[in-house]
């Protein structure tokens, strides 16, 4: 009896020892780096942990770090790569996409991943009650979205109308669990939310069930945890990086970049021009409460071109952005490898050419001021948001540049909500200087901007019919690019859109800010890029130098 008992307890003890060894062994092996806590800041409290309801940066960061998607855009190559789906096929003229799902994948809580989860996620996403921003690009036609499972491990999703770039849209769709009791807290991404203290931090821990392995067959991610400190103050964030309390800063301002350069030069990265644009535009809304003669100036292509030529963009890049920006030539940054129209060049700074254009339109100089053919002195206000120092500085530079051709500018700074109210509700403004954040590479994401009927067609939104021939042509081209699946044809259409925007300048594009970031030298494997999230896009393979046994870059 005792022998039997003894042997039973020995087997149990040996089993426990083996398990303990298995647990400890990986850390004892040379080169194994599954340890360490990466730290960086969120600039606001995440408003949700539901990845389908993401609306702001903090929630987006958590969704990226914790969520699993069917296909992922490689932020470096900008190519779409398999993730939870090993393959996919678009059929039915762009209406249907069929995914082949990866097998033996489990959520962080151990729930198996199946096609049911994808179907559930699509239902949740397209539910109008959810008001998901991520669902907007999928809503191209009226009618329900159908899901079918033609075989185990395969799922077909059919949309009511064709969607261009359909597969790339799934980069944003985090797959929820249909069956887990933990709902959206059960994740397929490299980390899961382990702790959250409102106003202080969000702690993510390594997902032990994450499906991805490195080339040597080791389970990713390497890091044990990520601590996201909620820190709205950019100065404090930069100071903490300087002190070594955090490891990363994304989307760094050029001002902070230069200041940090004195303390942590090796940590700074300039990935070149980013996707975002800073631009100025004139109010062309026919019902705007502006004098008719001013509306006539603002609607004149020659006037807009002259203003554009009188602005010294190179000085802006040098003085305000300390060379961490490039003069912008259009809506698409050169960083967008496929869609950028390489045939365009930045508008030159040429005061004489600007004056000649204005003279041809009947403007002339009178006692040092520019006046139109009816004798009205050319004077207008530029509105911008007070919180953004670089915009106020750009407006101040434009004020000085335009003074050289006799134009008087009143610079008005208001709080951001007041600016938005004026440009979207009351249309009580003359010119405005703002930026546009571009998160999507595909021009279809900009339909709302370029269609004359669009809400975000800012210079003259929601037109019943296009006000000008060139806007009509842009409408036609944008609809054409959205209705063909041929990438080359789409590129040709959108190149022409860029050309028209360059010629007509409804938006006077000023600069593309460079994608600046800071990464502590203790982080191994970082490859900062232009696409968001710039610094931690390859989070699975990041390691900390101390934790990784002193290995460097």
């Amino acid at each position: 009896m005792s022998t039997k008992k003894l042997s039973g307890s020995w087997v149990l003890a040996a089993g426990r020892l083996m398990l303990a060894l298995l647990a400890v062994l990986p850390f004892a092996l040379p080169g194994f780096a599954q340890s360490g806590e990466l730290r960086f800041s969120l600039h606001n409290e995440p408003t949700t942990f539901n990845p389908l309801k993401v609306e702001e940066d903090a929630a987006d960061t958590i969704a990226y770090l914790t969520g699993g998607v069917l296909a992922r855009v490689n932020r470096q190559s900008q190519a779409l790569e398999p993730a939870l789906a090993t393959a996919w096929k678009i059929t039915d003229g762009g209406r249907t996409i069929t995914f082949t799902l990866r097998r033996n994948v489990y959520y962080s809580d151990g729930t198996p991943f199946t096609a049911d989860d994808v179907a559930y996620t699509v239902r949740q996403l397209m539910d109008p009650a959810l008001h998901s921003r991520i669902a907007d690009p999928f809503r191209t036609g009226s009618g329900a979205v159908q899901t079918k499972m033609p075989a185990p491990g395969r799922i077909s999703i059919t949309f009511p109308a064709p969607i261009v770039g359909l597969d790339r849209l799934f980069d944003q769709v985090v797959i929820l669990s249909a069956h887990s009791p933990n709902k959206e807290m059960a994740v397929l991404g490299p980390f899961y939310v382990a702790d959250h203290k409102a106003g202080a931090y969000v702690l993510l821990r390594r997902n032990p069930n994450y499906w991805k392995r490195d080339a040597a067959g080791r389970r990713l991610p390497y890091l044990d945890s990520i601590r996201l400190d909620i820190q709205p103050n950019r100065d404090a964030e930069a100071l903490r990086l300087r002190r070594g309390e955090i490891h990363l800063i994304n989307a760094l301002d050029s001002e902070y970049y230069d200041r940090l350069a004195a303390y942590v030069p090796g940590a700074l990265h300039d990935a070149g021009p980013g996707f975002d644009t800073e631009q100025m535009w004139f109010n062309q809304v026919p019902t705007a409460p502006l004098p008719a003669y001013k509306l006539a100036w603002f609607r004149s292509t020659a006037f807009r071109r002259a203003i554009s030529e009188a602005i010294n963009r190179a000085d802006m890049c040098r003085v305000i952005y300390h060379q961490h920006a490039q003069p912008a030539m259009g809506p698409v940054s050169p960083a967008n490898h496929f869609w950028f129209n390489a045939g365009l060049h930045a508008h030159p700074y040429d005061v004489q050419s600007a004056l000649r254009r204005l003279q041809r339109e009947g403007f002339h100089q009178q006692a040092g001021s520019l006046v139109d053919r009816e004798g009205h002195a050319v004077e207008f206000s530029i509105l911008t948001n007070a919180e953004k120092k670089s915009r106020v500085q750009m407006a101040a530079m434009i004020q000085q540049d335009l003074a050289k051709i006799g134009i008087k500018i009143n610079l008005v700074t208001l709080d951001f909500p007041s600016v938005i109210e004026r440009i979207t509700q009351t249309f009580n403004y003359e010119a405005v200087l703002l930026g546009l954040v571009n998160v999507d590479l595909d021009p279809s994401a900009q339909m709302n901007v370029w269609l004359s009927s669009g809400d975000n067609h800012q210079w003259n939104p929601k037109q019943a019919s296009p006000a000008t021939a060139w806007e009509a042509e842009i409408d036609k081209l944008m609809r054409a690019q959205a209705s063909t699946m041929d990438a080359r044809q789409r590129k040709a259409y959108f190149d022409r859109v860029q050309q028209l925007v360059w010629e007509q300048e409804p938006f006077i594009y000023l600069v593309h800010k460079n994608a600046l970031s800071a990464i502590s030298q203790s982080v191994v494997g970082a490859q900062p890029v232009v696409l968001r999230p710039q610094t931690y896009w390859n989070i699975e393979t990041l390691q900390l130098k101390d934790a990784a046994g002193g290995r460097g870059h």
Partner: protein
């Protein structure tokens, strides 16, 4: 104390003298951009260096001081007059008028004035010159700053309401506005003066607060508040000590004004 007040007087007089002659003393126009030398350290060409756009900081400090130091007293005068009229009349009349005026003062004091200023400023037309926008900013500050002073003046006027000389004036047939103007108001003068001097640094600091938020005086016009916005980007005061000049001047002037107030309060 007398020496300190003398020094305070000298500081204010010298500052006023220099800033009123900004047109002669400033080496450059406040809006002129020397784009080849942004964020420059002090030099012969730029005594206090340049700002982020290459504008001469010494020139901007002179013009900015002129704006802050002339318009803050104007706003203080407006708020003191309003406080004198509302508070004085309420205290003199008493009863329902006093309760109404004090309720209005309490309401104004409880308002988040910063948000109110931001809202009112957002409602203004955009095509106004920087000078008008500047005047409006200070007028708003003055127009919203009467409540605290009104309570003090109300208490002062209430004390005078049944004073012997006021009763005697009433007996001799003097009533209403004339009695208020001839007998009450002159006796409130010391309190009014004290209120005025107290308000001046308050309005200087209020404009500075708005300027730091980027909502003060419109660019390119400088003010102390706008100039101090440059301090936002300072990590080490030792490296760019010259950028502290507007802050030091603000401290010197408001400190001097406080010393002068003590005297007025003693008189009151």
């Amino acid at each position: 104390m007398r020496t300190a007040r003398k020094i305070a007087m000298v500081v204010i007089a010298a500052t006023l003298l220099v800033c009123l002659n900004a047109g002669f003393l400033a080496p450059a126009h406040y809006a002129a951009e020397f784009r080849e030398a942004p964020n420059a350290a002090p030099s012969r060409a730029h005594w206090l260096g340049t700002d982020a756009l290459g504008r001469d900081l010494f020139s901007r400090l002179l013009y900015g001081t002129r704006i802050s130091l002339l318009l803050a007293p104007a706003a203080a005068l407006l708020s003191t007059l309003l406080a004198g009229f509302i508070g004085g009349a309420a205290g003199y009349l008493g009863g329902i008028w006093e309760r109404l005026a004090m309720a209005a003062a309490d309401l104004v004091l409880s308002l988040p004035w910063l948000f109110l200023l931001i809202t009112v400023r957002a409602l203004l037309p955009l095509d106004v010159s920087p000078l008008i926008s500047l005047a409006v900013t200070f007028a708003l500050l003055g127009g919203l700053g009467w409540a605290a002073g009104a309570r003090v003046l109300c208490a002062g006027a209430r004390g005078l309401r049944n004073a012997d000389f006021v009763l005697q004036a009433r007996i001799s047939g003097m009533h209403g506005l004339r009695l208020f103007a001839v007998h009450v108001l002159p006796n409130l003068k010391p309190v009014l003066c004290a209120q005025f001097w107290i308000s001046v640094p308050v309005f200087i600091l209020s404009e500075a607060n708005l300027g730091v938020l980027g909502l003060g005086v419109a660019e390119p016009m400088p003010s102390w508040g706008g100039l101090m916005r440059e301090l936002e980007s300072m990590w080490s005061p030792l490296h760019e000590w010259w950028k502290l000049a507007p802050l030091l001047l603000l401290v010197a002037v408001t400190g001097s004004l406080q010393l002068l107030i003590s005297r007025e309060e003693l008189t009151a």
